[in-house]
């Protein structure tokens, strides 16, 4: 009895001690790894000197939910990859619900992975500046990615450099990123309204629906997810006035056709004051719910359920929504409305999607070989993007596909980094969306500052505080929740000054000036 007791105690003691020691041990390991990344470009790549002699497992970090038939598709994919470059891939998925928190942690903890999905909206500049990605030299790219080196336009490489260094293999898929709105065409016809193609006709549509359709939100937005702008701002403020915001976490913009790139505070413009009146008018006519800033629902799902009559998004998403509803509820008629049809359009820069190599990867060369095939080998590209032919999609010719019953089982994650001219188009993609896209492409406006990237290292306090002010003062103002909009705007501007907007503006202007001077 006595023996048994002391044995148990000893056991507990040893167990806990082991836990402590192993925890300390792994800490040291992590420290060692981060130490190794001090020299991003030299070390890791050379260690595995070329060739595909040794079979390697390449770990990928992808954003989005794990597709249901991941095992089947990646099993097939790995067979092909094994054949061609003697490597297999193993993907880890960061779910949409909390990827923004997990993604930086993966780097901070220096976890073991080789390839990471990244994009201008997914921490690309941030991680590149912090040293999370391996610098990719032209030699490495030429040697390991012959197909991509051949196919990628030089400007795409140029656009994805940070401080003159390449950290990303961008996707190769020109598109326009302007936004449009999706409306209920059947309701528009019911009330005999003019076609929606301008801010005024849209306001008319929204107000009519709000006045006559009980239980429907005429317009809806997911304002509660930390987004610091009214969801129509991109259309009604930027596109309408041909401005470009440098970064969506601060209210600083320049005019597209201003060659000197002069930056101004958008809240301090007559255009914004006018837009506030427009929003206030909509809000007072119940165009959106009074609780729009606490909305927790998925707006598209609300629209499908007939509870919302319009929302704003980019063209590709709206086109997919349209196709989805046509399949599922053919009796409901939707239309995509472009509220600023005559304005200049901005082309997506290549960093809209891409893949980068982790700074501490020991398998950089092979990773690049894999990326080369994912983006530019027809067979592997099809597998990675659409799954297994006949199961997850049905090939239509060389460049189109039809969705099948299996499509939902392999979709919804960030394989877009491999977008390329080999992409197939959905054969049921709505013709009107195509028409809008073609029209937009003719109006694409190219400008010097297109590829400018703001480095906020010197002003991170101001960026954090300005963002906070926008969330607290601008969002309620823009959704018409503040009674006196002139006073609200004065408050907003005053608070921004206190948060250091002037310092931010000076810093941004000097970076832009330097950027333009170097061109």
């Amino acid at each position: 009895m006595q023996n048994k007791k002391s044995f148990m105690l000893l056991f507990v003691f040893v167990f806990v001690l082991a836990a402590v020691l192993s925890a300390c041990g792994s800490n040291h390991n992590a420290g060692g790894n981060t130490g190794a990344s001090n020299t991003p470009s030299e070390g890791s790549a050379e260690q595995t000197s070329g060739g595909t002699g040794e079979a390697l497992v390449i770990k990928m970090l992808l954003v989005g939910g794990k597709p249901i038939e991941y095992d089947t598709v990646f099993g097939e994919l790995n067979k092909k990859l094994k054949e061609k470059v003697n490597a297999t891939v193993e993907a880890e998925f960061l779910d949409w619900s909390d990827w923004t928190q997990k993604y930086p942690l993966k780097f901070a903890a220096s976890e073991d992975f080789d390839i990471a999905y990244t994009a201008n909206w997914a921490f690309y500049n941030d991680q590149a500046l912090k040293g999370g990605f391996l610098e990719l030299t032209d030699e490495m790219l030429k040697k390991n990615m012959p197909l991509t080196w051949e196919a990628m336009p030089a400007v795409a490489w140029e656009q994805s450099k940070v401080n003159g260094k390449q950290y990303m293999v961008p996707n190769n898929n020109p598109e326009v990123i302007d936004k449009a709105v999706l409306i209920r065409e059947d309701l528009r016809k019911k009330y005999n309204l003019d076609p929606v193609n301008s801010p005024e006709t849209f306001a008319n549509y929204v107000k009519t629906v709000a006045a006559n359709e009980k239980g429907i939100n005429a317009y809806n937005a997911k304002a509660a997810d930390g987004w610091k702008w009214h969801e129509l701002d991109q259309i009604l403020l930027e596109q309408q006035n041909e401005w470009n915001l440098v970064d969506y976490s601060m209210p600083l913009a320049y005019k597209l056709d201003d060659a000197s790139g002069k930056v101004f505070n958008v809240y301090d413009t007559p255009e914004f004051a006018e837009l506030l009146n427009y929003y206030k008018d909509l809000a007072d006519n119940n165009a959106w719910s009074k609780n729009v800033v606490s909305n927790k629902n998925d707006v598209w799902q609300d629209m499908k359920a007939g509870k919302t009559a319009s929302y704003s998004h980019n063209l590709g998403t709206l086109a997919m929504n349209l196709a989805e509803l046509r399949r599922e509820q053919p009796e409901v008629e939707l239309a995509i409305a472009d509220l600023t049809p005559d304005k200049k359009k901005i082309a997506a820069i290549s960093t809209q999607n891409g893949f980068a190599v982790h700074a501490t990867s020991k398998k950089a060369e092979r990773s690049l070989m894999v990326l080369d095939l994912l983006q530019n080998d027809k067979e592997i590209h099809d597998l990675f993007m659409y799954g297994i032919a006949g199961t997850h999609y049905e090939a239509v010719g060389e460049d189109k596909f039809n969705a099948t019953a299996g499509t939902p089982n392999y979709t919804g994650f960030s394989n877009w980094g491999a977008n390329s001219p080999l992409n197939r188009k959905d054969a049921s993609y709505p013709a009107e969306a195509d028409a809008i896209a073609t029209e937009w492409e003719q109006k694409v406006y190219n400008f010097e500052l297109e590829t400018f990237v703001f480095n906020d290292a010197n002003v991170k306090n101001e960026v954090a505080n300005v963002g906070n002010v926008m969330l607290r003062y601008a969002i309620p103002l823009e959704y018409g929740l503040i009674k006196d909009i002139d006073k609200g705007r004065a408050d907003l501007i005053k608070q921004l000054k206190a948060a250091g907007i002037d310092k931010l503006q000076t810093e941004l202007q000097s970076q832009i000036d330097a950027f333009l001077a170097s061109k």
Partner: protein
């Protein structure tokens, strides 16, 4: 007695010390070892340097918090909310524990306890969704009832003044079951002879409660309150974030340090800035607990924590 010195003591009490070891190791591992990470509050973090190799930047990381002009407001909100939570929750929990103790009928007691305990297991995310469905302007339960009986709708999500009450209420609702179990355990531990004696002396229920139960609960109350006071500058992030979210209109009365820091830094991922904010909270918390303990010592030495 102390002839054998330190090691003698150790040998003599080795069983007791071993029993203590897991707890000590736990805190060593999860509280003291990570404490070295506090240096991050004074550093410009980058991956190359890691935690210890990154360059120092003095008090720069603290600037964001104090320059924002919101430092005072969020600190005040955090403290006031926590004080309200401590008072309201403890009073209700003690009351519930006493009522449960006095209640007759085993079934009734168990059932009530279970029902009270239930909210403790509901995640704040779910509570946030429930609240939204109760309070939203267009289709919320509250407003549906109000319109049905001919009253005006109230716009809860755009009116900051309702929120202190809502938050205190929700917090009390959620913590009631869990907290009352602790007090109930303490009450069950009170010597029954005292009650018997009181009964013989003709004390009624209220006299029993106020002269026996509550005085005997003092040590428990003081310990629980002291422990809670140490966290007075830490807002319950899950609660505030899920109940209020990013609704800027309500921030003046609902923003606490934790939500403010989360909102400011979630997009920039500046570990140094968050570490600085956490450090600030820890310092304030440390000062408060020292102060509170000092006050208790003044009043009654036996009841102080240390």
């Amino acid at each position: 007695m102390n002839r054998q010195g330190f090691w003698g003591e150790v040998r003599k009490n080795k069983v007791l010390l071993m029993m203590l070891a897991p707890a000590v190791l736990f805190f060593l591992l999860f509280a003291y070892v990570p404490m070295a990470g506090i240096v991050l509050a004074f550093k410009q973090f980058n991956y190359d340097g890691g935690i210890f190799g990154s360059p120092w930047n003095g008090l720069d990381n603290f600037r964001f918090f104090f320059d924002s002009g919101n430092a005072w407001m969020v600190t005040r909100n955090t403290a006031l909310y926590n004080i309200a939570f401590i008072i309201v929750n403890n009073v209700l929990q003690i009351a519930a524990a006493i009522l449960l103790f006095e209640a007759v009928g085993k079934w009734f007691r168990k059932l009530t306890q279970t029902v009270m305990f239930l909210p403790y297991f509901i995640s704040w995310v779910v509570v946030g969704a429930i609240a939204y469905n109760l309070f939203n302007y267009d289709v919320g339960t509250l407003n549906s009832i109000l319109t049905a009986i001919g009253l005006e709708r109230i716009d809860v999500y755009n009116t900051p003044s309702y929120w202190p009450f809502i938050l205190v209420l929700v917090s009390a609702w959620k913590a009631l079951g869990y907290g009352s179990v602790m007090y109930l355990a303490a009450i069950t531990g009170i010597d029954t002879e005292m009650y018997e004696a009181a009964e013989i002396d003709g004390a009624n229920v209220f006299q029993r409660i106020f002269h026996i139960t509550i005085p005997n609960l003092y040590p428990t109350i003081i310990i629980l309150v002291l422990l809670a006071v140490g966290n007075i500058f830490r807002g319950d992030f899950g609660m505030f974030y899920n109940m209020v979210g990013n609704n800027g209109l309500l921030f003046s009365s609902t923003d606490v340090i934790d939500t403010f820091v989360f909102r400011s830094l979630t997009t920039s991922n500046e570990i140094g800035l968050s570490a600085a904010a956490g450090f600030y909270q820890s310092i304030l918390g440390f000062a408060t607990i020292l102060l509170a303990n000092y006050a208790v010592r003044k009043y009654d030495k036996d009841h102080a924590l240390f």
